[in-house]
């Protein structure tokens, strides 16, 4: 168990989600085990008794998430409702408990995967291990971040930024990671063997995580080699793809890729209908935030932006398209592939960014960084144009 605890402590800290205090991790099989001592364990043990779960994470998020989460929680009526894809699909909303008592927290966790306790931190749980609790923890931080910046821009446009919001904003931007920079080179094409393809995918996946261009470790990545598309598996860590790549025959003759990323239909459409071979999909935050900033005044589809936006939209010259995860009637496989033609990337509303390349992952990875950095700059330009705020 110690090894598992160390793994998730490292993941949480390395991804900038928690710190400086280490997280508190609990796992229950026959007996409950913790990664460390903490006086809050008594309350958390009571939560374990009340819930049919086997894993729990409790931690203060690291800055800037801590300030964001506390602010959103304190100014909520008990429920935070972000509009990003991750929340809409998987979390539904982010409930808040204004007191740290086992009963209060457990009553919320009986219905949801997470609870935010302002001033104390976030609790998430899982029924199949710490990985599940980790993914939820990461998603809560991501969703909170996106909501906070979306809300600030919206309020700035309305001229309604109150003092508290402004103070938190100023503090948050002081704690942002610096813009991503990458001056190195990835494996160069042609990637003409399965071995090289797999190595190149693993390298690009690892760098995407290291540069924090994904929410938790998700996102997906693929490369077409001959008549096979090699693609990351669903729920795989992009920095641990060694045994998590599915070969997908383009003739559909095998169902082995049933465990491939849920974005497989989009990847397939792209490699089959364009001359791109390398596809990278991440969740860089400012690309997602700006995708949800729409100035179109009167729109009949206002509440369906993620499903079917009727407008041609761009940010920093990059198309923004609607579309949902997977294979449904509003799947992003109907919108993204066409939009990749002639563009360095495509942003999916409230979701993430797809970039493509013809021979290797150099261009997709660099585009992912460039587009995110451009969106970040654009975000603060928009804020600056609306009011005087501390520059980032």
């Amino acid at each position: 168990m110690n090894q598992i605890f160390r793994t998730y402590e490292n993941k949480l800290i390395k991804s900038g989600l928690v710190g400086p205090e280490p997280p508190l991790l609990g796992c229950l099989d026959a007996h409950l085990e913790w990664n460390r001592t903490d006086r809050k364990r008594v309350a958390l043990e009571d939560i374990f008794k009340q819930l049919n779960i086997n894993a729990l994470i409790f931690s203060q998020p690291a800055e800037p998430y801590r300030s964001i989460i506390d602010y959103l929680a304190e100014t909520s009526n008990g429920t935070i409702t972000p509009n990003d894809c991750e929340t809409r699909t998987f979390l539904h909303d982010l409930p808040v408990s204004f007191q740290f008592s086992s009963n209060s927290v457990a009553s919320i966790l009986k219905a949801r995967k997470s609870v935010i306790i302002p001033g104390h931190g976030i609790i998430t749980h899982g029924t199949v291990g710490l990985e599940q609790a980790y993914v939820t923890f990461s998603s809560v931080c991501f969703a909170g971040f996106v909501k906070f910046f979306c809300d600030f821009l919206l309020h700035a446009k309305k001229g309604h930024v109150d003092t508290k919001r402004r103070q938190v904003f100023d503090q948050v931007i002081r704690n942002l990671d610096p813009p991503v920079s990458f001056n190195d080179s990835l494996m160069k094409g042609p990637l003409n063997s399965k071995k090289r393809v797999c190595e190149a995918i693993q390298e690009a996946g690892r760098l995407t995580v290291e540069h924090r261009l994904v929410d938790s470790h998700f996102g997906n990545i693929s490369f077409r080699h001959g008549r096979t598309l090699y693609i990351s598996q669903t729920g795989s860590s992009l920095d641990k793809l060694k045994d998590a790549l599915d070969p997908c025959p383009l003739d559909g003759s095998s169902c082995v890729p049933i465990t491939a990323s849920s974005e497989l239909p989009t990847h397939l459409e792209i490699v089959q209908h364009t001359d791109n071979k390398a596809i990278l999909h991440g969740h860089p935050k400012f690309s997602v935030i700006l995708s949800m900033d729409c100035d179109i005044k009167e729109c009949m589809c206002r509440r369906e932006c993620h499903l079917a936006c009727p407008h041609e939209r761009f940010v920093c010259g990059i198309p923004i398209v609607s579309g949902e995860v997977g294979s449904g009637p509003h799947s992003l496989c109907n919108t993204v592939p066409e939009a990749t033609r002639g563009n360095p990337g495509v942003i999916v509303y409230g979701h993430g960014l797809f970039t493509t390349g013809k021979t290797d992952f150099n261009q997709p990875f660099k585009n992912l960084i460039q587009i995110e950095n451009n969106c970040r700059t654009e975000y603060f330009n928009r804020i600056r144009s609306l009011e005087n705020v501390e520059s980032c």
Binding site: G252, A260, G326, S331
Partner: protein
């Protein structure tokens, strides 16, 4: 009343009478419906012999059935299993559960024994018992056709009439309640068929809320590669798992002597789709539509059947797989048990079965002719009679499905602890160990698996009681279904409340099995899995399971499940769960 009809029909075949019972709301809340409610109503009779006239045969649907709840067209058939002596039940699709609710019942409980072969015909609130002597020995498809116009049908075939221990019940001509030998319980009551039709509606407390909750589930299933993906079960049927099991080197081959089948690529779901061009269909009220049926009404085999009638027998003829499936359905036999019994026979007799032999042996079993007489008792009894019990790949007397436990240790533990014996569906850890949902777990480790299996069992007990399809839970969770349950019944319920019900249902089944003498010695796997490797190559080694690690995990499961060291229930825990002694 919302969700439930609030009526249960008790039919006594001996005197051909029936009456309506009104269940207590607290009982409904405590056991929900389907498997849970059937378990509640059978518990006091569970120590009777399986063929005792007073042994109830129960058919129950859940509160979500006949509403717009996603994937809620299923139901449960339960009795004491003729095959195992344990609790015996099957969750089955089609439209029977839907019609049961439309007819105004949450369930029917059948006791007694008719003096001649009979059928039960239910139309709305009217129940009629018909003479079915003229249907004696008729195959299920024939009977289904003859009953056309009388609603949904549940029919047994000649196998049950002839005493085959793994007899099934066929719903609507295509959907099998296969496991546990429940078809034989029908036969023991001289009951050939039940027809069900109705015109009633199930009241929904909050239709608008239900619409919103449906959308949540639709969004999640659309995002699921396993359900709705390009290679998912909606497009290829459950056979979509075939390639994956072989690729993960956990496809039971040649009676579980190996875990990889060289010819798998020729018999995969793609090959079936290409050759038979089936149409998508499914259970009533389901949007996933995993059932595949051809234009001429031939059912494409489910994954378990595909795998066992090919790899387990070393058969490479795709036509034989379809034919074997058809024979089993027409004769009314569980395909998993039938194929596994043949594989056991093949190994004991040291004879690889040709396609023709597979077909003729299945017919012999169904007709109880020749060696079919011995094989009709299932692998465990057949191997025991040959003094080769070690070659029967069974748990609690029920033949194992198509996931080799050496390739997924949670599955190994779940097979052992399953209350109905060799069954993959009680906890279905394949979801996380292989399909990576909700997240991936280490398939070659028992670490943490005891409680995961306990939680998985509780979850699936709830699914079987709502009644919803377990496949939905590859994408959705009880979080979404608690909202659906609340909007349908009007009873404010959270996901963890449902888990509590699941725990009660599972504990009740453990109590019933304990009352029939089941202990930890029955929570075990065949010795082969602890001694023989399954595959070695390609960097994937399928090693024998470490027996000591397995036993530790099983002990951990007993702690997680709050059982005694010997796997039997504790009266204090039962009382806390509201379960009276049996």
């Amino acid at each position: 009343m919302y969700g439930w009809c609030g009526k249960i029909a008790r039919i006594h075949l001996t005197d051909q009478s029936w009456r309506v019972e009104v269940p207590d709301l607290n009982v409904l809340k405590s056991f929900i419906g389907g498997r849970g409610l059937a378990g509640y109503y059978i518990r006091k009779k569970i120590t009777l012999d399986w063929n005792h006239p007073d042994m109830p045969l129960l058919l129950f649907a859940g509160p979500l059935v006949n509403t717009r709840s996603p994937t809620s067209g299923r139901m449960t058939i339960m009795s004491r299993s003729p095959l195992t002596g344990a609790v015996g039940d099957s969750s089955v699709g089609g439209s029977f559960g839907f019609q049961l609710k439309k007819a105004g019942f949450d369930g029917i409980i059948i006791t007694g024994k008719s003096d001649r072969l009979c059928g039960i015909e239910i139309k709305d609130n009217d129940i009629h018992i018909s003479d079915a002597s003229h249907l004696k020995g008729r195959e299920t498809g024939d009977v289904h056709s003859l009953l056309k116009g009388r609603g949904s049908t549940a029919v047994i075939g000649p196998a049950a009439e002839n005493g085959v221990l793994f007899s099934s019940v066929i719903i609507d001509g295509h959907f099998a309640a296969g496991r546990s030998g429940i078809g034989l319980t029908f036969a023991s009551k001289n009951l050939k068929y039940i027809t069900m039709r109705g015109t009633g509606k199930t009241n929904v407390f909050d239709p608008k809320g239900l619409r919103s909750a449906r959308e949540d589930v639709f969004r999640l299933t659309a995002a699921s590669p396993i359900l709705m993906g390009k290679f998912g079960i909606s497009r290829f049927g459950t056979g979509a798992l075939y390639d994956l099991m072989d690729a993960r080197r956990m496809m039971p081959t040649e009676n579980f002597r190996k875990t990889q089948f060289d010819q798998a690529f020729k018999l995969n779901a793609h090959a079936f789709k290409k050759k038979f061009k089936p149409k998508n269909t499914g259970c009533r009220g389901c949007h996933i539509l995993c059932k595949k049926i051809t234009k001429d009404q031939t059912s494409i085999p489910e994954f378990e059947t595909m795998s066992h009638f090919s790899a387990l027998l070393g058969n490479t003829d795709i036509g034989t797989v379809v034919k074997a499936n058809r024979i089993c359905n027409e004769m009314g036999m569980d395909t998993i048990s039938a194929a596994a019994t043949l594989a056991c026979f093949s190994e004991i007799s040291k004879k690889k079965l040709s396609p023709q032999e597979v077909v003729s042996l299945l017919i012999d079993i169904g007709k109880k002719k020749g060696v079919g007489v011995e094989l009709s008792q299932g692998a465990a009894k057949f191997a025991g009679n040959c003094d080769r019990s070690d070659l029967a790949m069974v748990v609690k007397g029920q033949e194992l499905p198509a996931y080799d436990p050496r390739g997924a240790y949670g599955m190994a533990l779940a097979y052992a602890t399953s209350s109905r014996g060799g069954c993959h569906l009680r906890a279905y850890p394949i979801s996380h160990e292989i399909l990576r949902k909700p997240v991936a777990t280490d398939r070659f480790s028992f670490n943490g698996k005891a409680r995961m299996i306990k939680i998985g069992e509780d979850l699936n007990a709830v699914a079987d009681s709502l009644t919803a399809c377990k496949f939905t839970f590859f994408a959705a969770s009880l979080e979404e279904y608690a909202k659906i349950y609340t909007t349908v019944t009007g009873i404010k319920t959270l996901s963890q409340d449902l888990f509590e019900v699941g725990e009660r249902i599972c504990y009740n089944e453990r109590m019933m099995n304990a009352a029939n003498g089941f202990t930890e010695k029955d929570d075990d796997l065949p010795a082969r899995f602890f001694t023989m490797p399954g595959y070695k190559d390609d960097g994937i080694n399928i090693e024998p399971i470490d027996k000591e690690a397995f036993l530790t995990a099983r002990s951990n499961y007993y702690i997680a499940r709050k059982l005694n060291e010997n796997g039997t229930p504790v009266s204090k825990v039962a009382k806390e769960l509201g379960l009276e002694p049996i």
